[in-house]
């Protein structure tokens, strides 16, 4: 039994709105025909327990951001950092997979001895409220050791209890949020449903690693058209490119933008491309997600949210690739 706060579902928006003075409210809401995370003016606009089309990474690691501007003049070259505005933000409604993904991204951008000031600047002032999700199609979170009720990574987590939310704070910032409401404290068991899974296992990961030269990669390579839909909806894909945009002859900006190993030019350097075909590129993505992981934390770079499965125009299913790896190698016609 744990001490939890019971919040009536109908009271939630009013309570979140109390914090609007202090925080910019973020959460899932419709953007045109799709659900995405973004800022809302009023908590009633938030949609909870919904699968967004892409992840919340855009909030900390925007698809494009200026890193610094530069200017040449008689005195020489002048660089001006364009650090993000430090705004307190309250991000409401992350499901467990997106929370796990946030922990991965914290390691990627914060770790390795060099903190990324752009990511960290935004992340540092964000308070995250997680919400237990209703697992839908393509989810496979259980394969990564958590389920729809796992609160890890949240400052505050809400479990669904019919007409109420059961809340528990996991940080000071989360506890502070709760104080604004006159909530009832209850002794209750924290729900712990297990999520969908059964695709990725230690065994399949090991087999994938062994089978780097398996001809089945070629079968995938001919199907993967080389777009970035999977990577761009992925909550942990963090590859980026850096480029300059001149403004006139005297100045300009250096910006970064998302990039992905699925693109043909990702590793192409003058005259040499270590991954010259799509076979190598789709393999790199699958391997990086499922096998290599993040070297800073040994965390898996896949959290089983299933967004890439839903987004792939070619119907490539990373779950099936993992499952297929443990099947016995099928005889494939040589060279075909």
């Amino acid at each position: 039994m744990t001490e939890l706060w019971r919040i009536k579902k109908c009271d939630l928006p009013a309570w979140l709105n109390i914090w609007r003075e202090e925080y910019e409210l973020w959460g899932a809401r419709p953007e045109g025909p799709v659900m995405r995370y973004g800022p809302v003016a009023d908590a009633t606009e938030l949609v909870l327990q919904v699968r967004t089309r892409d992840s919340a990474k855009n909030m900390f690691f925007p698809a494009t951001e200026t890193m610094f501007s530069f200017r040449h003049d008689e005195q020489g070259l002048e660089l001006n950092q364009q650090l993000p505005e430090l705004k307190a933000r309250l991000l409401v409604g992350l499901p467990s997979c997106d929370l796990q993904a946030l922990l991965v991204m914290d390691n990627v951008f914060g770790g390795g001895g060099h903190a990324d000031p752009y990511y960290s600047g935004r992340r540092q002032y964000t308070v995250v409220v997680g919400v237990a999700c209703e697992p839908g199609e393509f989810f496979f979170c259980q394969d990564f050791g958590f389920g729809p009720d796992t609160p890890t990574g949240a400052d505050l987590f809400l479990w669904d209890d019919g007409s109420n939310w059961l809340a528990q704070a996991f940080s000071e910032a989360g506890a502070r949020l709760l104080q604004a409401g006159d909530w009832e404290k209850v002794q209750a068991t924290v729900p712990n449903r297990s999520g969908p899974g059964g695709w990725v296992s230690a065994d399949s990961v090991a087999r994938l690693r062994e089978r780097f030269d398996d001809p089945r990669w070629e079968r995938l390579g001919e199907r993967c058209l080389g777009c970035g839909a999977c990577a761009y909806v992925c909550p942990t894909c963090h590859c980026f490119d850096i480029d300059d945009m001149p403004h006139g002859l005297e100045g300009g900006e250096r910006y970064r933008r998302w990039d992905t190993c699925a693109f043909a030019g990702f590793t192409a350097a003058a005259g040499h491309n270590p991954r010259p075909d799509q076979t190598g590129r789709i393999r790199q993505r699958v391997m990086h997600k499922l096998v290599y992981g993040d070297f800073r934390s040994d965390r898996s770079l896949c959290v089983g949210c299933g967004r890439c499965v839903a987004a792939c125009p070619a119907g490539i299913d990373i779950r099936a690739i993992a499952r297929e790896a443990v099947r016995e190698k099928k005889e494939v016609k040589a060279g075909a």
Partner: protein, 292 residues
């Protein structure tokens, strides 16, 4: 009764068994995905995996080009691939052949007569205005040619006319809103049979007037340029819109351009004739001139 699917499996089996083709590109049903996905059949006994019914939404034309390009990176001897096409997909294959990305004898086109794909109660826009239930180009045709059907109305074209009727500022904000979602994943480009450039201008390191930034303006430039680059060549298969993870109504733009071109230059639909000359790579001395 033999269905088109039975015929298709038998045809594929024979083609492979007799060595007429190296591969049959068709659809297979992926149970866990609940989706029909591209399937490359290389052995006669695997022909039974092929399906044909209204779940076969995906156009296989871009996969044909992609697969051939992949193959050419590892081997040089010519190969012949059979591809299963609906009417709309056949136009994509024509596009690729007409743009000289593949040789005609590298491809064997198995046309299937199609009455529309997807949810019967909610067909994609392209099906609702389809005039090509029978593929305009094929080597083998499976299914009965339907009796004379009337020209359907085009909800997409009606939508284009509606947008044209708006204020310029309303149109600007409508598209700004849509383009601001674009992540530049290039799914639209990769699934497009007309976007068959070996190197896209947006991937070129050297072009300093295209950028991959995702601001609404840069995205607008990207989509405008893409629409223009496929102008007169777009086969209106709708794959770009289907592939877009952000739900941008790209076909509204393509339809606009296609209908303008028809009106301005009185040309037939793109991708219905292997000898077509795309309208923007030719001219007539008597073309309209009043705009200058």
């Amino acid at each position: 009764m033999t269905t088109i699917q039975d015929e298709l499996r038998e045809t594929a089996r024979t083609l492979l068994a007799e060595g007429q083709v190296d591969c049959v590109l068709g659809w297979a049903w992926e149970e866990e995905l609940q989706r029909a996905v591209p399937c490359f059949v290389r052995a006669a006994e695997d022909a039974k995996r092929l399906i044909w019914d209204e779940r076969c939404v995906v156009s296989l034309a871009p996969f044909l080009l992609h697969m051939k390009r992949q193959l050419s990176s590892v081997r040089t001897e010519p190969s012949r691939t059979a591809i299963v096409v609906k009417g709309c997909d056949a136009r994509g294959v024509v596009r690729i052949l007409r743009d000289q990305q593949l040789e005609r004898d590298e491809v064997l086109i198995i046309g299937v007569v199609c009455q529309g794909v997807g949810d019967p109660d909610n067909r994609p826009a392209k099906c609702r205005e389809c005039q090509y239930h029978v593929p305009p180009v094929y080597d083998l045709l499976l299914g009965e040619e339907p009796k004379e059907t009337q020209t359907p109305s085009s909800p997409l074209l009606e939508r284009v006319r509606e947008i044209e009727g708006w204020d310029v500022a309303d149109r600007a904000s409508y598209w700004r809103e849509h383009f601001s979602r674009c992540l530049r994943c290039y799914a639209c480009r990769q699934v497009c049979p007309a976007c068959n450039c070996v190197e896209c201008i947006f991937d070129s390191e050297r072009t300093r007037w295209t950028y991959k930034r995702t601001t609404a303006e840069e995205n607008m430039i990207f989509h405008a340029i893409r629409a223009f680059h496929v102008a007169g060549r777009c086969v209106e298969c709708g794959e770009c819109e289907r592939a877009c993870p952000m739900g941008i109504p790209l076909m509204e733009i393509n339809k606009k351009v296609a209908s303008d071109i028809k009106e301005l230059f009185s040309v037939p639909d793109a991708g219905v004739d292997l000898r077509e000359e795309p309208p923007l790579v030719r001219y007539e001395t008597g073309d309209l001139d009043h705009f200058v």
